[in-house]
């Protein structure tokens, strides 16, 4: 966004012109105008509806705005003091970290496995790809509903299968016990994002030159050795991109939590984003909600910089 307001580097254009011919300058000038004209609408849209609200959110976090009293009064750091003094905030922060790290590990490991399956050639590949895409392309609120029923406290078919095998007698209460609830939320979230990670990694698998693989095969490298000594190192930047993508989506997502547990039982699955929602929208305390939501920002920025560096490294390859 900073670049949007930066002055046009005319010096460079002028320097080129002094070297080049006269008509080149006309073309360059027109292209400069065209580039701005084509880019500006998008930039304005984004500045108006992302940049401005972001500043507004920062302002809200220092105010006492509520749904009932929308007038803006300066409240200083009191919102931050309140949330830092609230044990639910620290609980949510810890949960957010557990939720993100747990999902990310699952997403990367299974995404890689799935990508390897999907790039192979076999009969019925089309139908397998179709079925595998389902978790990602379905609106998450709906697939979370399907899972809500799969994890039902009484009628869960997973429990039924476990009972048939003889592992349990009663029910697991997947969403009713704190640690199991967290596990369920992580599993459902990872399940939803694994296909996306697989698609990103497929792009990397396809890009590895065939002759490197073939050469390694001629030299006697077995499947696993090739996998760990050639494929994975070559794909590492893209795996990093997929992982950080997943981390950001996970970090900020509240849909799975909202539908499955609503943060319960007793805040054991409450994450920062869901808590910001309950505080800000359902509780009506916009100032505090904004303060909680903003707490995500420095962490996101770090993740974004990491992504950028991973992408840069990929370019060197």
């Amino acid at each position: 966004m900073v670049q949007a307001t930066a002055p046009k580097p005319d010096i460079q254009v002028a320097a080129e012109d002094r070297v080049g011919r006269h008509d080149r300058r006309r073309l360059a000038d027109r292209e400069g105008f065209l580039a701005w004209a084509m880019l500006l609408p998008s930039v304005i849209y984004i500045v108006a509806l992302v940049g401005f609200p972001l500043l507004l959110a920062i302002a809200f976090s220092f105010s006492d705005v509520t749904t009932g009293d929308p007038s803006f009064d300066w409240a200083g750091l009191s919102n931050y003091q309140k949330i830092f003094g609230d044990p639910v905030f620290w609980r949510s922060l810890l949960n957010t970290i557990i939720f993100t790290v747990g999902s990310m590990v699952l997403i990367v490991v299974f995404g890689k496995i799935l990508a390897n399956i999907l790039v192979a050639d076999f009969h019925g590949k089309w139908i397998v790809r179709f079925l595998v895409l389902l978790p990602w392309t379905t609106p998450v609120a709906l697939s979370a509903i399907a899972w809500l029923w799969l994890l039902d406290s009484i009628f869960s078919p997973i429990d039924w299968m476990l009972r048939q095998v003889g592992l349990i007698n009663g029910n697991m209460y997947w969403l009713g016990r704190p640690s199991l609830a967290m596990l369920s939320v992580i599993a459902v979230h990872a399940w939803r994002l694994i296909p996306l990670a697989a698609v990103i990694m497929m792009a990397g698998l396809v890009a590895i030159p065939k002759d490197i693989q073939e050469q390694a095969e001629v030299d006697g490298g077995g499947y696993w050795r090739r996998m760990f000594e050639i494929t994975i190192p070559l794909m590492l930047p893209l795996i990093a991109v997929a992982a950080l993508f997943g981390a950001i989506v996970t970090f900020t997502d509240m849909t799975v939590v909202y539908v499955l547990t609503r943060g319960g039982p007793t805040n054991s699955t409450q994450v920062l984003s869901s808590w910001a929602f309950f505080r800000g929208i359902e509780g009506g305390d916009i100032g505090q909600g904004a303060a909680v939501a903003l707490f995500l920002f420095p962490l996101l920025l770090t993740a974004a910089i990491l992504i950028l560096r991973a992408v840069r490294r990929r370019e060197v390859l």
Partner: protein, 302 residues
């Protein structure tokens, strides 16, 4: 496993025939493993939906019986709950709202992001690299950070509880991604083609519209599909901005309207999930390869 015994037999025979047989056996094992892995992956990913499909046609006394096999129809199947979904809920309204919001969002996204992507991919400005990164970073600013202030903004322009608020806000999610994807597709078009068109007398803009846009059309279709899916899946804004039943979209309408207090209309809910999930995944699958191409090409140049 049997590799050791196989190795010995090779030493004994030292014949080409044995080597060949070994290769075939390894190959066959690998094939079987691949198929098993593919089936397992498909089952894990699609399992919940397949089970939703079974549930949608179950009678309640069959469903709410803890020891019934949940995968079979212990009582005859019924279409009653699917009919309920269509006749007694606003499901069709939700579908309609999702469709027109999706189409408008796709249109706004394309109109804004296609020129922007072209400017970044082709009109070599010194700032196009950093700008592309800046736009991509916008994608990383999540709805959870913005929904509070955006909801005030939506109130300020009198769009609260109105589906149009989503048309206004969703492009902020979709523009950054589609610029990212389109830059990738545009870079794959050889520069000579536009230059030729410009030599033939078209302006830069004319060359873009008449030669480049038709060439990246497959990419544009992939972006359309992706953008639509994003718009249809969005949950937080839709939940925060729109409350009346008639204005809701699928992703908020189904979970909120088919759950009344503690009463879940399970079969109808599952029917809705299946009816929405299968068509979207089907269309997406048609464009998966293109989407992968766009992602790699967009990712290379930052």
């Amino acid at each position: 496993m049997t590799a050791a015994t196989v190795d010995e037999s090779i030493k004994a025979d030292a014949s080409v025939e044995a080597l060949r047989r070994r290769a075939i056996r390894r190959h066959r094992l690998a094939r079987v493993g691949l198929y098993l892995a593919a089936i397992a992956a498909a089952l894990v990913c699609a399992g919940p939906f397949l089970w939703s499909l079974i549930t949608a046609f179950k009678q309640s006394p069959d469903l709410y019986q803890r020891d019934n096999n949940p995968f079979l129809y212990n009582l005859p199947s019924t279409r009653q709950h699917v009919a309920y979904l269509f006749q007694d809920t606003a499901f069709l309204t939700f579908v309609w709202n999702t469709l027109w919001v999706g189409v408008l969002v796709v249109a706004i996204t394309l109109v804004l992001s296609l020129p922007a992507a072209y400017a970044l991919a082709r009109l070599d400005r010194p700032w196009s690299g950093p700008m592309a990164i800046a736009i991509f970073f916008v994608y990383l600013v999540p709805p959870t950070l913005l929904f509070l202030s955006l909801s005030r903004l939506v109130v300020a322009v009198h769009l609260q509880d109105n589906t149009w608020s989503l048309v206004l806000v969703y492009p902020t999610i979709t523009i950054p991604v589609s610029v990212w994807l389109l830059v990738g597709f545009l870079k794959s078009v050889p520069k000579d083609i536009e230059e030729q068109a410009m030599v033939d007398g078209y302006s830069r803009l004319g060359a873009f519209v008449r030669t480049v846009v038709p060439l990246v059309f497959p990419g544009i279709v992939a972006v359309i599909v992706f953008t639509f899916t994003l718009a249809a899946s969005e949950f937080i804004y839709a939940l925060a901005f729109v409350a009346p039943t008639a204005e809701k979209v699928i992703s908020t309408g189904v979970p909120t309207e088919l759950v009344r207090g503690d009463v879940f209309f399970w079969q109808s809910l599952q029917a809705a999930t299946v009816l929405v999930a299968f068509p979207i995944a089907f269309v997406f699958n048609l464009f998966l390869d293109r989407f992968i191409t766009g992602f790699t090409m967009g990712a290379v140049k930052g």
